[in-house]
């Protein structure tokens, strides 16, 4: 807005404000009605939906699926969608940072005098697209159930390790055969071909990048886990065809 436009706006605003009604009681009445609705909704949700609490947090047991509260589903989904896992930091840090920078600087690059949404096609469609994208990601994130199956054939002596994998939420971030999520971690179907058991063990101990460390597992479980993961050589198993 140039100077004339700014002055025109202020003048017009002054008139509209003079024609308005006093804050008390008119706006106060609406605000209070709305406050009542907000409190009612919260009370009803508390009464109807109650509270939830899973089993106690325990760094040494493994029955968990790393799942955030729903407000962060869209971020978590973004993590899964960005396929090459080297790009994961871009998804997790880059995208939100860029969005925040864009949001903060919005009034400094969108400075036109027009305020009607239908006459700001770029801004309005960007806004609508953002809402649709976030709603979609949240929906997908909400409906993605925790994967609890591995369909790959497993040798009996490796069953123990497979169960550790199943109960440790690995499939939340990795694909094994037809199961699990693509990303943020790399596919593990053929990890035994690509990596030595020692390297896999190191990954599980350290917890590279955003993967948690599993060094808290008890020694037997940890060994089972390493044995199972390093046994994964996709092409040996007939069940591996869905890529």
């Amino acid at each position: 807005m140039n100077r004339a436009e700014k002055e025109a706006y202020l003048r017009e605003y002054e008139v509209l404000k003079k024609k308005g009604k006093p804050f008390f009681p008119y706006a106060v009445a609406k605000d209070s009605a709305m406050a009542l609705i907000v409190v009612l909704v919260i009370v009803l949700m508390s009464l109807i939906l109650g509270t939830e609490q899973g089993p106690k947090a325990d760094p040494t047991t493994t029955t968990f699926v790393p799942r955030p509260d729903w407000y962060f589903f869209f971020l978590f989904e973004l993590l899964r969608i960005i396929k090459p896992y080297q790009l994961v930091p871009i998804a997790t840090i880059g995208v939100p940072t860029i969005c925040m920078v864009l949001l903060i600087s919005l009034p400094f690059f969108d400075r036109g005098p027009e305020r009607r949404p239908e006459r700001r096609p770029v801004a309005s469609s960007a806004g609508c697209l953002t809402i649709i994208a976030m709603a979609f990601l949240t929906y997908v994130g909400a409906s993605a159930g925790p994967p609890t199956e591995i369909d790959l054939a497993t040798k009996p002596e490796l069953e123990a390790g497979k169960n550790v994998v199943l109960s440790s939420g690995c499939l939340g971030c990795h694909v094994i055969g037809d199961n699990g999520n693509h990303g943020p971690g790399p596919e593990l179907t053929e990890i035994g071909v690509r990596r030595s058991a020692a390297a896999i063990e190191r990954s599980l101990r350290v917890g590279p990048d955003l993967m948690p460390s599993y060094s808290n597992l008890d020694a037997d479980q940890f060994d089972d886990l390493v044995a199972y993961v390093s046994s994964l050589r996709g092409e040996d198993e007939e069940a591996t065809n869905g890529e």
Partner: protein, 288 residues
């Protein structure tokens, strides 16, 4: 300063010394008029004793532009959601033990044994969702109404800070429940922070209180969740509202001044000046 001339029933309810000197004792105003003036009277009384600045009066009787509709209540609805969170949070804090060994048990105790414990905890839990939704709706309103444009750019910037702070509350609150899901999600969440450039590793070390999730992590999240961030939110809401007072809220973008005045002229021909008892005072206040 507002000096309502008409008498008020409200005033007569006050003990003698509280009545403003010179206020007529027997008025003829009806109950509605009295009710309208009651805040002004009360504020006038306070003003007289606090240095006479009539800021409160100015706040209450400032005009909101023509056309202000229900979408404009979303900001104060967010504020109420925050207040509800603060109040229920105080009650939860009375029973919560921020230690890795006892946190879970203290919540179970609160939920199962304490009178209304589950209800208050439920209000805090669902209130968080309500507040997050309201913040986004309010932001969408100001975005689509172009309210972030001149002269309200700072208003918007403070708003974005409030958005980030609100999401921080949601993130730090999740761990306090200290069940498996929340614990591991937070492990992953802080690891994600750690992948950020430059400040990333420091940020996640700060959150965890070290390189690993340890016994100090939970007390840290607790302090951040109930002292640091709420303090920042209160300060920011204060600044946000101060700007609302100073700049006023926008009129809906579709409204033009000339059309508005036309519509107003039409209406004032029909409606008598019955409303003006209180608002003529306000008009003066407004000019100050």
């Amino acid at each position: 300063m507002a000096e309502p001339e008409t008498s008020s029933r409200f005033l007569k309810l006050l003990p003698g010394p509280l009545r403003r000197p010179g206020t007529p004792q027997n008025g003829t105003g009806n109950l509605i008029d009295s009710a309208k003036e009651a805040p002004a009277d009360l504020l006038g009384w306070v003003d007289e004793r606090t240095g006479g600045s009539s800021q409160m009066t100015a706040m209450l009787f400032r005009k909101v532009p023509k056309g202000t509709n229900w979408f404009y209540t979303l900001g104060s609805a967010t504020l109420f959601a925050f207040i509800a969170q603060a109040l229920t949070g105080v009650f939860l804090a009375m029973y919560y033990t921020p230690s890795a060994t006892q946190a879970y048990e203290s919540i179970v105790h609160l939920t199962q044994d304490v009178f209304l414990g589950e209800f208050v905890r439920g209000m805090h839990l669902w209130g968080a969702s309500v507040m997050v939704i309201l913040v986004f709706l309010h932001m969408a309103r100001t975005f689509f109404f172009g309210a972030y444009k001149y002269p309200r750019e700072l208003q918007w910037v403070i708003g974005v800070v409030l958005l980030i702070l609100t999401m921080t509350m949601a993130f730090t609150g999740y761990l306090l429940r200290f069940d498996q899901r929340a614990f591991w999600a937070t492990v992953v969440g802080t690891n994600i922070n750690g992948t950020g450039p430059l400040v990333g590793p420091f940020l996640s070390d700060f959150l965890r209180g070290g390189a690993e999730f340890g016994p100090t992590t939970l007390p840290r999240f607790y302090a951040i969740h109930m002292l640091l961030v709420p303090g920042a939110i209160i300060a920011m809401i204060g600044a946000h509202l101060k700007l609302v007072m100073t700049l006023g809220t926008t009129a809906p973008p579709w409204l033009r001044a000339d059309e508005a005045s036309k519509a107003r002229d039409l209406r004032t021909e029909k409606v008598t000046t019955s409303l003006n008892g209180g608002s003529s005072d306000a008009e003066e206040v407004n000019e100050v």
